[in-house]
């Protein structure tokens, strides 16, 4: 089986975020601390488990600047077979569609792919749509919010998954190829071992540019993006709340009254 996993480098949430205010984009290169998007760790682990259970090879791809090599190197240390970084000046400022379009072009170039794993969402872009968009562009089965892979039949090109959606679990059987976007809890991501890290540090990371991917540059980057950030603001503080003081009895009386007054509780 041929497995692709899409991983994104995101700023560490603890770290300072640097915006390019006029452009309304992130200064990704200026940000020191970056990590693998937390959801993508589950995507990598699920790819590794799938390879263990059903054989095959894993290709990890990431679209981003030089720094994205760190997350690809981490994937190599976790023993994925091959990595590519998708990068081009023309990609800067891409929106969700442009990102999905570039990733889809790389997946087509890789060819004969059975499963594409993505995370549920990125913690910076936070849109949670790239997986679904990839499926639509590629014409692959769209399996989102996946909490478990029940079985894969590589011969019959079928997969059965559980999707954790509102109110319960939906069990879906789908044709391969499929895009599977995974949620937290699907597995326990492993850590790379020292040997893996050492080995990965020596492997050169190939780059694919717009030309290599046959990407129409009019459709990507800030030129192609249809969504544009026009304003960035720090939300007003929620306003100093009221600390209720006194005996537990009094506090409970005050709070219950205040909440009942809101007429939300039926």
């Amino acid at each position: 089986m041929k497995i692709v996993v899409c991983i994104k480098q995101v700023p560490d949430t603890e770290a300072e975020i640097k915006w390019d205010i006029p452009k309304g984009t992130l200064k990704r290169d200026a940000m020191e601390a970056t990590i693998t998007n937390p959801f993508d760790e589950f995507a990598i682990e699920e790819a590794l488990l799938t390879r263990e259970n059903y054989d095959g090879e894993i290709v990890a791809i990431s679209m981003g600047p030089e720094k994205a090599n760190d997350v690809l190197r981490n994937a190599l240390a976790l023993t994925v077979n091959q990595v590519y970084r998708l990068t081009d000046d023309a990609f800067a400022g891409s929106d969700t569609y442009a990102t999905a379009y570039v990733l889809a072009s790389a997946i087509k170039k890789i060819g004969d792919v059975d499963i594409v794993f993505t995370g549920k969402q990125s913690t910076d872009g936070n849109t949670g749509v790239v997986g679904a968009m990839l499926a639509a562009i590629l014409g692959f089965s769209q399996l989102t919010y996946v909490s478990k892979i029940r079985s894969i039949d590589a011969g019959a090109k079928k997969i059965v998954v559980e999707r954790a959606i509102e109110g319960g679990i939906e069990v879906v059987e789908a044709k391969l190829p499929a895009v599977v976007s995974v949620i937290k809890g699907i597995n326990e991501p492993r850590l790379p071992n020292l040997m893996g890290i050492r080995k990965a540090s020596k492997i050169p990371i190939p780059e694919w540019k717009a030309g290599d991917l046959g990407v129409d540059t009019a459709k990507v980057g800030s030129n192609g993006a249809s969504t544009k950030v026009v304003e960035i603001a720090v939300p007003p503080p929620r306003g100093a709340g009221e600390i209720l003081k006194g005996e537990v009895e009094d506090i409970a009386n005050t709070l219950t009254e205040k909440l009942i007054e809101m007429k939300v509780i039926k």
Binding site: V230, E242, L255
Partner: protein, 328 residues
């Protein structure tokens, strides 16, 4: 009309909840500012009753694509049908709820149309004929306002409960437009085998009231107490990641950056410190109550009402008082 505002009405095997119609309210306000109409669109199998209800909630027209292939929700068939309708009528805006189904259809449809979309919007306004969408970024530390210049229609997903429910009036008149569009059974790439209902309905995203617990509960039994409070209030139970990682409660309950984003009317945080990743998931709640024994816990900065103390003493008192005052 070309600059109409369309609202996607989510249904599952013919069933809808009133919340499915919530965006007809903001949709109507936007349509007024654009000088156009708010319309609904529904995809499913036999959805006449749903179309009628959409009119009662304010839709002036309802566009319907029906057929047995649409009985179960399948993102592929639904997004092809949505793409067909939106491409044919080219409204200005198509609003979807940011639920699993809403997001699935919105994302795939935008991709088929070849445009980016704006997701999980919490603010919407029309200025000089342009739609401005506001959403939280980076765990709610920033609010960004986005415009979608090239797309037609502009696809937008909206965080549930961000806007007021529209009034329902069964006397409303409207038109139902049925379009035929079908996907051959053989072309469907998936099928639903079964739906396993959650033992506890965890529908955090729809809940008006959430009682949430963190590591400060100290033990899994703490959640039994919170469940009692949630039951009295008719609410759902949420949790911090620390509580989930401790194995005290399943992941479906997690609120925060790597859990669910919620916007209830009342959020009661018990034994939760208020890390930015937790706040990311709940800071837009209307009213936040924090119960924490550390007066310096960051959660108090976000709280509407704070109580400094031990949850194990306070929560039972609250249950007792609510029961008495609500005659339960």
């Amino acid at each position: 009309m070309a600059n109409d505002v369309w609202v996607y009405i989510e249904q599952k095997e013919g069933a809808v909840s009133p919340m499915s119609f919530e965006l007809l309210g903001i949709g109507k306000a936007m349509a007024q500012d654009l000088g156009s109409n708010v319309c609904a669109f529904v995809i499913g199998d036999s959805v006449d009753a749903i179309a009628k209800e959409a009119i009662a909630y304010g839709a002036s027209k309802v566009f319907v694509v029906e057929g047995p292939v649409y009985k179960n929700f399948l993102p592929d068939a639904y997004s092809k049908a949505a793409n067909f309708l939106l491409d044919k009528y080219k409204p200005e805006v198509a609003l979807f709820r940011a639920t699993s189904q809403g997001t699935d259809v919105a994302a795939a449809t935008a991709a088929l149309l070849g445009f980016g979309l704006c997701t999980d919007t919490i603010g919407l306004k029309v200025e000089g004929g342009q739609v401005k969408m506001t959403r939280a970024a980076f765990g709610g530390n920033y609010m960004v306002t986005v415009v979608n210049e090239k797309a037609k229609p502009q696809i937008i997903t909206v965080r549930p409960k961000s806007f007021a429910m529209p009034e329902k009036n069964d006397a409303n008149q409207g038109e139902v437009v049925k379009e035929s569009f079908t996907v051959a059974e053989a072309d469907l790439n998936a099928k639903v085998l079964e739906f396993i209902k959650a033992a506890t309905t965890v529908n955090l995203v729809e809940a008006d009231i959430i009682v949430s617990g963190g590591r400060g509960l100290g033990k899994p039994e703490g959640f039994e107490l919170l469940k009692q409070l949630a039951d009295v209030l008719g609410g759902a139970v949420g949790a911090s990641r620390a509580a989930v990682d401790s194995g005290w409660i399943p992941y479906e309950h997690q609120v925060g950056q790597t859990g669910k984003t919620v916007k209830p009317k009342i959020y009661i945080a018990c034994g939760i410190s208020g890390a930015i990743q937790h706040l990311a998931g709940m800071r837009t709640s209307d009213c936040i109550v924090a119960i924490n024994k550390d007066p310096d816990a960051p959660i108090f900065k976000a709280a509407t009402f704070g109580i400094v103390g031990d949850y194990a003493q306070i929560v039972p008192k609250l249950i007792e008082k609510f029961k008495a005052k609500l005659n339960k």
